[in-house]
Amino acid sequence: MINRRRFLQGLGGVAVALPFLESVRWGSRATAAVPTRRIYSMFIRQGNGVQQAGYGGELERFWPKATGLLTKGSLAVTDPDRTLAILSDYGDKLTLVRGTRFGFPGNGCGHSGGLNQCLTAANLTGEGKDTLASGMSVDYFIASRVNAPGIEPLTLMSGPQSAYLAHGLSYSGPGQLRGARNNPFAVYSNLMGLAGSPELRQQIATRRKSVNDLVRTEMGDLLGNPDLSTTDRDRLDMHFQSIRDLEVGMACVLADDKVQAMQDIATVFEANEHRIKVADFMLELTALAFACDATRTGSLQIGTGNDGTRYYVNGVLQNTFHRISHRIDSDGAEGAAIPNADLLHHGIDKIFAGIFKRFLDRLSAYPGPNGGTLLDDSVVLWTNDLANGPPHSYGNIPQVLAGGAGGFLKTGQYLDASTPTGMTTHNKLLNTIINAVGIRNEDGSYYDRFGDPALARGVLGAMIK
């Protein structure tokens, strides 16, 4: 038990054999469409844009000065004043992509329009805060191809469930917004599964099977009802498909003090003061989930749609991030100017860079399935639903990737995806990630059609080795 814990915490330094049920799961899902290598992906979303050049006289404080090669430690030397310098230790494992844009204009609310398309590359329906994406998000798409049947992507949030704009990142289909877990302790409880001896777990599986069979019969009775509405049928069918027998799996276990820390905030995890801590916990749990192969993809939304978190910058509790991103003391278009708002926005960007870096630290501490670190076998994206503060543009979205996806990606570079005709729609970036986790067209060519069919197809070839 101690060995496994150490392994799972990444402290042991030596991988131990996977428990028997792990191999059972993989053995039971051999289909041609499933990638043969285990590559993990994670999508982390910051709101409100980043502070970058392009608005008024604001200086560039996000991107490095020049595109080209990045090496370990290089950003700290070449661009110490930029947000991304915080990731300098991972220079050789980064892919920084400027020059992408969203494909569709927002419907009256930049935040909502961006939030809903940043992982879907889909067109939008509805308007304002009621905007929904008309397509599946990339995390769900990947999960449907690389996870065991019925295993969803991790869908996580740091922030309140109820808000003017709440969670809006992950979709299982057009208009099918998914709920996000925002309580780290609950995520852990769900991941942990069952511990115990193989005999005990087999016994649990047996009694679960008898209950599952009975419930399936009952679901079948309901589904056989002749006058169900389509939505009733869809809802019951999704439930029916969710019932799984082989869910005993490998127990994912964290150290007791870490679990205690999550439990300590189990009733106040939505509070402003815990926003960063919860984000860190969620990404720690993500790394754990990948390490024990509970799921291979996920997403994390930090803050609500127009993130109103009050962050500390320079040790001082600041106005809400949303207002700072507007540069005025208002959630609308008019209000008193916030002094040095661009610098405060830059300070908040650095907080997010720190969250991302700690996630990379965590992924680097685990061994990956293919011989390197877990980060080497992953591709993780830190993105945004806007490009910048004012004017909340959809052009030049900050796309920061880390991890080589088992050698697929050409890491260690800062590249510009724009072409002589303008910026490239970000569906090509998502297509590239989809290929990075091993998904291809049936003929073996690159998968190139994620997102709205109106968008030009393709991948970002410069990202690929």
Binding site: I151, E152, T155, N183, R207, L214, S229, T230, G335, P390
Partner: protein, 534 residues
């Protein structure tokens, strides 16, 4: 007259000054019949089903539902994903294990172990778990579970092992997790729900939980087969203290009271402000709304009553004389400055910046959530605009008023409402001047159909809103959405028109509005068009 106006409001398509449209209805469609229990309903149901002394707390670890629709019981939110299925499985196993090892809980399911018959256990517990009598095949299935139970739970006596497996199964059953409405008989052009289905509709409406013993007995005795019987039992449920909690939940969501928490104010301008005051404002407004219901008040009272429940911090904001402590005590506010919920500190402080009132957001909220008037989403934010003027009102008007790009929505629809509240500062305290200049709270508001109202201040506006058909139509629409757990449909229009009219003309109390709804076929029957799949 009222019906005519409401018809215009609700019928859709009447644009107001180029600013959005007014529509309250989704297209007619089949009504979904299998609402899943919301997490709050699951928690309350499990507590009642097993007689737990406290809520289990397990629902707090469930996969949250997405924010779709206004209320957390909206059927559009309530799917079972594979993550939630796993949560349900874990919760069912934990509850079942607890029952099997807690003699008090076990005795509620098996009172006489020595003489207990498995079939009786299944039948009795199953009726409460499924909220209806079990069919013969269902009884056999669960009795069958007892057979292998001792082998998988060798630590228990065989009967206890069987109960554990039965509980584990029933808590994962669709008949527990969904409120299934299976009636198919057509009677006089409608498809009435059977007594047990009506009982569940009532208990979940008022308590977010399963029927109590009396309601089950009424279902069995056929007392819920007609409108009068339903109304009689609904009246009893309404008067139960548990119902207060449910209407707090309704108002909390209807008026976005969650957003009062975590408010911050400028510490120099408002040195007495503490973050905790946002929570106090939530409590105050919920007590106020509860007080209106308890006093048999109606929609108009929500907008005009001067009764308030304040503690020491709130008393300061309301400038009340007297001695106040941490507890909330009932007071009367000054009728010259306060009238109803829109003049309460929570709404005013929520819709304010750190320093100033925010007339735009105050106006938007009232248009959207009190008048149910749709406003087009604003254009993407422009570059920072140069504001001019002495007062907050003048500054806002300088960039959104007549002659600006905001003329269409702001000048006639949003600002006139918001400006009426300029006499309340960023924490909701009354003021007569702003930056040394007198505040101006007079305005004229234009409804979607072209009618106008003119008022001198927020009290006059609230009193006029209390007589406005749109306000009654809006509240009753939200009430119906909450009561039915779904968006309103075209088929609901007749009921809604009647409710709004009675609320306005007859000043029906909120309780009477609720009892009126439960007496209708909308509540007691399935609509016939559900037989055609969408």
């Amino acid at each position: 007259m009222y019906r005519l106006i409401l018809g215009i409001v609700i019928a859709a398509g009447v644009a107001g000054a180029g600013c959005g449209r007014d529509t309250a209805f989704e297209p007619a469609s089949a009504v979904d019949r299998f609402p899943r229990l919301s997490h709050a309903q699951w928690e309350a149901t499990v507590q009642d089903l097993f007689g737990l002394p406290e809520p289990s707390g397990l629902s707090s670890t469930f996969q949250p539902d997405p924010q779709l629709g206004r209320f957390d019981n909206n059927i559009a939110r309530l799917g079972v994903t594979s993550g939630l299925w796993q949560d349900y499985q874990r919760a069912a196993e934990l509850i079942a294990a607890r029952v099997a090892t807690d003699s008090t809980l076990l005795a509620k399911i098996v009172p006489e172990p020595a003489t207990a018959q498995i079939r009786d256990i299944v039948t009795t517990f199953g009726l409460r778990a499924f909220r209806r009598p079990l069919k013969e095949a269902e009884i056999e299935r669960y009795v069958g579970l007892f057979d292998g139970a001792a082998a998988v739970f060798p630590e228990h006596a065989p009967l206890t092992a069987g109960v554990r497996l039965m509980v584990q199964g029933m808590l994962q059953s669709p008949f527990f997790l969904y409120r299934t409405e299976l009636s198919t008989a057509v009677v006089e052009g409608a498809m009435p729900l059977d007594g047990y289905e009506v009982a569940s509709r009532l208990s979940y409406l008022f308590w977010s939980s399963m029927p109590d013993r009396e309601l089950f007995a009424a279902a069995q005795a056929g007392e819920l087969a007609d409108a009068e019987g339903v109304r009689r039992h609904a009246s009893r449920l309404f008067d139960d203290p548990r119902t207060r909690e449910q209407f707090r939940r309704f108002h909390y969501q209807a008026f976005s009271i969650a957003e009062y928490a975590d408010l911050d104010k400028d510490p120099i301008l408002f040195p007495a402000w503490r973050r905790e005051i946002g929570g106090m404002m939530q409590e105050e407004i919920l007590r106020f709304l509860d007080g209106v219901i308890t006093a048999d008040g109606g929609v108009a009272d929500l907008l005009t009553s001067t009764k308030a429940y304040v503690n020491a911090d709130l008393a300061k904001i309301y400038d009340l004389d007297g001695t106040f402590g941490a507890d909330y005590q009932e007071v009367e506010l000054d009728p010259a400055t306060r009238a109803g919920l829109l003049t309460r500190a929570g709404f005013l402080a929520r819709n304010a910046t750190l320093e100033d009132p925010d007339p735009i957001h105050r106006g938007v909220f009232i248009n959207l959530d009190v008048l149910c008037r749709t406003i087009s989403a604003p254009p993407d934010i422009p570059d920072v605009l140069e504001r001019t003027g002495n007062t907050n009102r003048e500054r806002v008007d300088s960039i959104t008023g007549q002659g600006t790009c905001g003329e269409g929505c702001h000048h006639t629809v949003i600002n006139p409402i918001g400006f009426a509240f300029e006499s309340f500062d960023a924490v909701g305290a009354y003021r007569t001047s702003d930056r040394g200049f007198p505040v101006d709270t007079a305005a004229t508001y234009k409804f979607a159909d072209g009618r106008t109202i003119t008022y001198g201040n927020a009290v006059e506006l609230s009193q006029q809103l209390a007589k406005t058909p749109e306000v009654h139509g809006c509240y009753t629409t939200h009430l119906l959405e909450f009561m039915l757990g779904r968006d309103v449909l075209r088929a609901d229009r007749e009921v809604l028109d009647r409710l709004a009219e009675q609320s306005l003309a007859e000043r029906l109390s909120i309780k009477e509005l609720v009892l009126t709804v439960v007496s209708t076929n909308t509540f007691r029957a399935r609509s016939l068009d559900v037989r055609s799949p969408r």
